[in-house]
Symmetry: C2
Subunit: 202 residues, 2 copies
């Protein structure tokens, strides 16, 4: 069977996958669009898993200082090649992450970076509070787990929905990162950030 | 005697002191320009000493990312009032410090911030090297002291001559800071900085 250019474009618009991949998926599914989407999704997850392990030695530094000059942020976003580091979407992402950091002042890149003692200290506070409210043990456990998860999102950059929810469809920084990785075909890492607010320096 | 506006302006151009201070100094020195400069200097040192102790809760965040997007810096420069924080010279200084940090990658704001263990470790390396060169003890001591002072300047921001030597007459960041403090009449502090280079993040 022949696959029309219009079909390929329609599939591309729906999935964001590369033109060649869309064409191959439609050929494999014999023109069945839903099946082609499934093929692309499986393939996409496989390549995402492969990407995540790859080294990132290139990238950019981006900064954002709020209009009042009282708050600023700087980020390092890494990728695999200098080619992608010059890519417009990649640079837009780095800028949007810097802007987001300036707005929300996260403390860690990911929840895994939260030191164990800090997590334990937070847990104890939540536990005491739940017990003071007179909750039974099993309920306390559930409440604490929920509060800890919520707290981790507050301090971990990747888990936060981008502050400009309208522009980014309420997606988290991690979701935007994954999309960019799929689009560029490279592993993308938010390596670190700095957040400064006037008066908080020593 | 009467002090002409031209004399006041000439003294101001030479010293950078405020118009009113120049006028008062010329009146006190009865028109003797050299004596007026001395009066201003003594007065300037007295007010500088007073300024240094004053609290700085206002200021700005400034950032600079090198044109290749591979290197960036962010600084917090503090002053006493929001009025000075909006001052053009103050903001220019903050920007010039960020640019300088991006160019030289200092590790501490001032030499006093260098941890004692790090200084000791550096000292041992210099000592061993001087002994290997077969220098006698008293010479080793002198060489080590000289190398340590040189090294401290390499890692401490305030001790470094601004990277744009032509624009800043080879003045150090500390000298530029003192000038700005005298000009604005407020204590000025470089509170902290961050330096990012692509690939150096975890």
């Amino acid at each position: 069977m022949t696959i029309s250019a219009a079909d390929v474009k329609a599939l591309r618009d729906r999935t964001g996958a590369a033109m060649m991949d869309c064409k191959a998926a439609l050929a494999e599914s014999e023109g069945d669009v839903d099946r082609a989407i499934e093929i692309l999704r499986v393939k996409g997850q496989a390549s995402a898993a492969k990407r995540e392990g790859r080294g990132t030695s290139e990238g950019v530094i981006a900064s954002y200082v709020h209009a009042n000059d009282k708050v600023g942020a700087m980020v390092e976003v890494q990728c695999e090649t200098d080619f992608v580091a010059r890519n417009e979407d990649f640079n837009a992402f780095a800028y949007e992450v810097a802007l987001h950091v300036a707005a929300t002042a996260p403390r860690y890149v990911s929840a895994e970076e939260i030191p164990e003692e800090e997590r334990e200290a937070e847990k104890r506070v939540f536990e005491e509070k739940a017990r003071e409210d007179g909750k039974p043990d099993d309920v306390v456990e559930k409440i604490v787990a929920g509060r800890l998860a919520k707290w981790a999102k507050e301090v971990a950059l990747l888990d936060q929905p981008h502050v400009n929810a309208e522009k980014h469809d309420s997606k988290t920084i991690e979701e935007l990162r994954q999309e960019l990785a799929a689009k560029t075909g490279e592993n993308v890492r938010v390596a670190r950030f700095a957040y400064f607010r006037v008066g908080e320096g020593d």
